[in-house]
């Protein structure tokens, strides 16, 4: 399966990163190889088979809507951010 350079750039933008020219060439070849391999699934007959999305045997785990104590406080969490002001995380200009 061929993947165009435009498709690679589009996928990168969906993934929220940008790629250099060299990266695009390498990823194009890699993705084509990987897609060729996973297309092996075409050989498999799955007609009438239900999909499995998870293998956890429990369903609808309920618990009271109460806060379970976490040991990190507000200050500790704010300190992790590169920039904060007045107890809020600061980001660069949005517009």
């Amino acid at each position: 399966m061929e993947v165009t350079k435009e498709e690679i750039t589009h996928l990168a933008s969906l993934s929220n990163f940008s790629l250099g020219a060299e990266e695009i060439t390498k990823l194009k070849a890699d993705l084509e190889n990987i897609l060729r391999y996973i297309s092996k699934l075409d050989e498999l007959d799955v007609k009438g088979v239900e999909p499995t999305y998870q293998v956890f045997e429990m369903e609808n785990v309920w618990r009271p809507d109460e806060i379970i104590a976490q040991d990190a406080d507000r200050e500790a969490l704010l300190n992790l951010a590169k920039d904060s002001e007045d107890h809020q995380i600061k980001v660069p200009k949005v517009l």
């Binding site: 993934s15 890699d30 993705l31 699934l41 799955v46 956890f56 200009k93």
Partner: protein
């Protein structure tokens, strides 16, 4: 794995561990060494013992955390640039439980960034080297954990296994590793990779040690709604049939190393001598497991890694200048461009590809249906056998650099380990000696869900 016999002290155990870490520095195992804290805790344990207080089931035992486990005031960067500078404000449930039983964390160990890889070569800190041959890979993604145990830096190490990340490095370095039943151990505080596949497990030097670690860490956790109700040690699935299977298609695989094949045949003969019935299983759908895995796993990776944006924690780009984009957009884009390793980018892009509208049915949905067929095939097998003995990987440890530029060749490393994750089953990897070149060989024993403890018992018989 106990110091309760009073022949030694926690401080001397930790000192020996730190010395060994220093001696093995050129293997590139540890990404962080917590010397002062470890010695302080060891002293506290020794004081407790002196006073006659209960120091816990793992008192004084030095261990290493795979660096994708969060533990308070230690870095937890998953060997990924985008998480550098992240010092955890919380403990993962596993680290908390181990500490409570007196185990002493001496540091954090290397992995493929975000656990994406089968060799530890995708780490931001460079590869960890194989315990038996420095020109070869440690395996991965938990390469640091396996080598730390193999070279006696620690008594045990934590790991995570999404497609073989505990079992393959265990077999490459000649140690024991358990990939428990999906949901057996809390994942709270562990960096998520692919949520329907990820499990927490351990590396140690014996099945008995793994059993002790499971008994301390398994169980329901209010902080992780995907933990199963407590079953380990009390409500396990019994292995009553006295019958063990092997997979015909794996044995016939051209990729399978002849020495691994013969080691497996030797173990089957041993089981037969012990009165087990040996059953040849045909499991033709497993041939498609790797393809299904490399659709489902990247899809979940793409979702889980979308949270890394440079805003709340970790690395943030300095590069915010461009005419056509807002500074905030550039912050996201450049943080991610600079912060992810090439393999992280490949997986995110594959994931977004198989989930995109035109391709969802052809790839993701089809893989989810293949997953059902694989689970059915295991269920059918477990109607006849208690457990299945297979290789962990088709070959022993390969050379550093040998597969790094060919992602599909690297993915094929996982061909015999991923079916277990797709079905949520427990499996134990154990060493079976070395090949002629002196490289460790490993096998895995796979059982039905919740048969973890009995698999470890069977491993003891086999090892």
């Amino acid at each position: 794995m106990k110091i309760a016999d009073k022949k030694t002290t926690a401080v001397s155990l930790v000192e020996a561990s730190l010395k060994r870490i220093e001696e093995t520095k050129d293997y590139n195992i540890f990404t962080f060494i917590d010397k002062d804290q470890a010695l302080k805790k060891a002293q506290a344990i020794d004081d407790k013992i002196k006073k006659g207080e209960n120091p816990g089931k793992l008192a004084g035992v030095p261990y290493a955390l795979k660096a994708n486990f969060l533990s308070k005031n230690r870095p937890a960067d998953a060997s990924a640039k985008i998480l550098t500078e992240f010092i955890s404000p919380v403990d993962s449930t596993t680290a908390e439980k181990l500490d409570k039983e007196g185990a002493i964390c001496v540091g954090c160990v290397n992995l493929d960034a975000f656990a994406h890889g089968s060799s530890t070569e995708n780490s931001y800190y460079g590869p960890t080297k194989n315990a038996k041959d420095k020109t070869r890979v440690a395996g991965g993604s938990s390469g640091g954990s396996a080598v730390a145990v193999a070279l006696d830096c620690v008594e045990f190490a934590t790991g995570s296994d999404t497609g073989g990340s505990i079992r393959q490095p265990a077999s490459f370095n000649g140690v024991f590793g358990i990939k428990p039943t999906y949901g057996a151990i809390s994942r709270y505080g562990v960096v998520a990779m692919a949520s329907s596949l990820d499990v927490i497990g351990f590396f140690a030097k014996s099945a008995a040690d793994l059993d002790l670690l499971m008994s301390v860490t398994a169980g329901k956790d209010e902080k992780d709604q995907t933990t199963l109700p407590d079953f380990y040690g009390s409500n396990d699935t019994e292995l009553k049939k006295k019958s063990v299977g092997f997979i015909k298609e794996f044995m016939a695989s051209e990729a399978l190393d002849p020495e691994i094949k013969s080691a497996l045949e030797t173990k089957l003969a041993k089981l037969k001598d012990k009165g087990y019935k040996i059953v040849e299983l045909s499991m033709p759908t497993l041939e498609y497991a790797l393809a299904a895995y490399y659709i489902i796993q990247p899809a979940e990776v793409a979702s889980n890694l979308s949270r890394y944006d440079g805003i709340r924690y970790g690395f943030r780009t300095e590069n915010l200048k461009a005419d056509d984009k807002t500074p905030l957009d550039l912050l996201f884009e450049n943080t991610r461009s600079e912060g992810f390793m090439p393999e992280n980018k490949r997986r995110i892009m594959i994931g977004n590809f198989v989930l995109s509208s035109g391709f969802y049915d052809a790839y993701f949905l089809k893989a989810a249906k293949a997953r059902t067929l694989i689970i059915d095939e295991f269920n059918k097998a477990f109607a006849d056998v208690d457990a299945i003995l297979t290789p962990v990987s088709p070959n022993p440890a390969f050379k550093l650099g040998e597969k790094i530029s060919d992602p599909v060749a690297m993915y094929l490393e996982d061909v015999m380990s991923v079916p277990v994750n797709l079905a949520g089953l427990p499996a134990v990897a154990f060493p079976v000696g070395e090949n002629k070149a002196g490289l460790p060989l490993g096998l895995q024993i796979i059982g039905p869900r919740r048969s973890d403890k009995n698999l470890l018992k069977l491993t003891e018989e086999l090892a």
